[in-house]
């Protein structure tokens, strides 16, 4: 959602922001694990975006801007701070992407198509991995959009995404053993 021309520019904040409402709520709920906190987070995001809308720059990505506000609001919340204190992201910068070690989790998916299994594995991911996986595979953002949303270089997007997927596979393997 790039706004570059005045004649194609929607008139109001509402016209731009409301189509993102369901998606932002889904993302917020994944981050907070809680309906009430997700609602508060979305509400605060819209309030901040509305306040800053007059200074929103044409030619920049509105969707990434909204997700960035939501994500930063989450990170500075009590739940967000707690969630991010448990993960070290040292040595991820521009590191090589990791090859898949065996394909057991995918085989599990192929055989069982277990929705709950995948949801549990996503739930178990540290927040930095959960958010990047959701932005890429659920929100279908490009690496550039993800980089803008998370304020990180594209190289970091690639390496963090790779680590997130590997961690998810490991998690699926674990879920399968439990189940």
């Amino acid at each position: 959602m790039y706004l570059t021309r005045l004649d194609t520019q929607p008139d109001s904040f509402e016209e731009l922001a409301m189509p993102l409402f369901d998606r932002l709520y889904n993302f917020a709920h994944w981050l907070t694990h809680n309906r009430e906190e997700a609602e508060d987070l979305v509400q605060e995001t819209y309030a901040k975006a509305l306040k800053g809308f007059s200074s929103f720059r044409l030619g920049t990505n509105f969707r990434a801007w909204m997700y960035r506000i939501l994500r930063n609001t989450f990170l500075t919340s009590r739940t967000g701070l707690k969630a991010t204190m448990t993960l070290s992201l040292d040595s991820e910068e521009d590191g090589p992407e990791l090859p898949v070690e065996g394909d057991t989790p995918e085989t599990i998916l192929m055989e069982r198509s277990n929705l709950q299994l995948v949801q549990s594995a996503i739930d178990e991911l540290p927040v930095y991995f959960r958010e990047i996986l959701l932005l890429c595979d659920v929100e279908e953002m490009s690496y550039q959009e993800i980089a803008e949303t998370l304020s990180i270089p594209i190289g970091t997007v690639m390496s963090r995404l790779s680590r997130a997927r590997k961690t998810l596979r490991d998690g699926l393997r674990l879920q399968f053993k439990k189940g």
Partner: protein, 254 residues
């Protein structure tokens, strides 16, 4: 492992993010290699499973209604339409004068907002029970701590021959932009140094030069831009101390 060099980029290929030439090379390879085509298939299935599983939560109708009410009929961005084109020259001149005044006023308000937000960050942090996330007087410990947490690197000055001592640092946000917050001590006064990427902040033009905070912010403050980074130094220490610490940073970054 078979085709290891291909597999390291397989996810990027499936995300459609490789350069076009590499995409074509991958297309050919995946079609001809049974190992990679099987691997690609399972990864695509995983992506689809994540997509389905990820669309999990829906806002309630009540929450949607509340949000729509709260943002309905809110600000509309200005358009240059037919009315502008048909306005008389005199009105246009008046409008330009008016707009210039409005712009200047908005710049002034925005400048004060930035100063206030920086002051708020400084005060809120010092009031916190844990003002720093990395506690160290060693710049070689504090600087690497920010690696991977903020999208840029910066240098911390050597303090051996100065009265300042480093207490630690933390991540912070200004205007939805991540940055570094460092806390220094000088004769029992705490001074905050904030560092952000200049381009990602929506800063007013009048901040572009070194400037001290206006009177209505009850701290001494200095801000400048250097090497693509925007620095703010703020605290209740004297203006001379703030300036001295600022000079140490400027010398180190030049």
């Amino acid at each position: 492992m078979v085709c290891e060099s291909w597999k390291t980029k397989l996810d990027t290929y499936l995300d459609g993010e490789l350069p076009s030439e590499e995409m074509r090379a991958f297309d050919i390879h995946v079609h001809n290699c049974p190992y990679c085509s099987a691997d690609a298939l399972t990864r695509v299935q995983t992506k689809r499973a994540i997509q389905v599983a990820g669309n999990r939560f829906t806002p309630s109708a009540e929450f949607r209604r509340r949000m729509q009410q709260s943002i309905a009929a809110k600000p509309r961005r200005g358009r240059f339409g037919f009315a502008w084109m048909t306005a008389t020259a005199a009105i246009a001149v008046l409008a330009v004068v008016g707009l210039t005044a409005t712009y200047n006023e908005r710049e002034r308000v925005r400048t004060e907002q930035v100063y206030s937000e920086v002051a708020d960050l400084h005060v809120a942090t010092l009031a916190s029970s844990s003002p720093v996330d990395v506690i160290s007087t060693d710049r070689h410990t504090v600087k690497p701590w920010f690696q991977g947490k903020i999208p840029f690197a910066f240098d911390l000055p050597e303090l051996q021959n100065s009265e300042f001592s480093l207490l630690g640092g933390r991540m912070t946000y200004l205007d939805q932009t991540p940055g570094a917050h460092l806390i220094y001590d000088v004769r029992k006064h705490h001074i905050s140094v904030f560092v952000f990427q200049e381009w990602s902040l929506r800063l007013p033009g009048r901040l572009n030069e070194n400037s001290f905070a206006p009177k209505n912010v009850s701290f001494n403050m200095e801000t400048w831009s250097q090497g693509g980074l925007r620095y703010f130094v703020i605290g209740d220490a004297s203006a001379a101390d703030i300036d001295s610490l600022a000079k140490l940073f400027k010398a180190d970054a030049s």
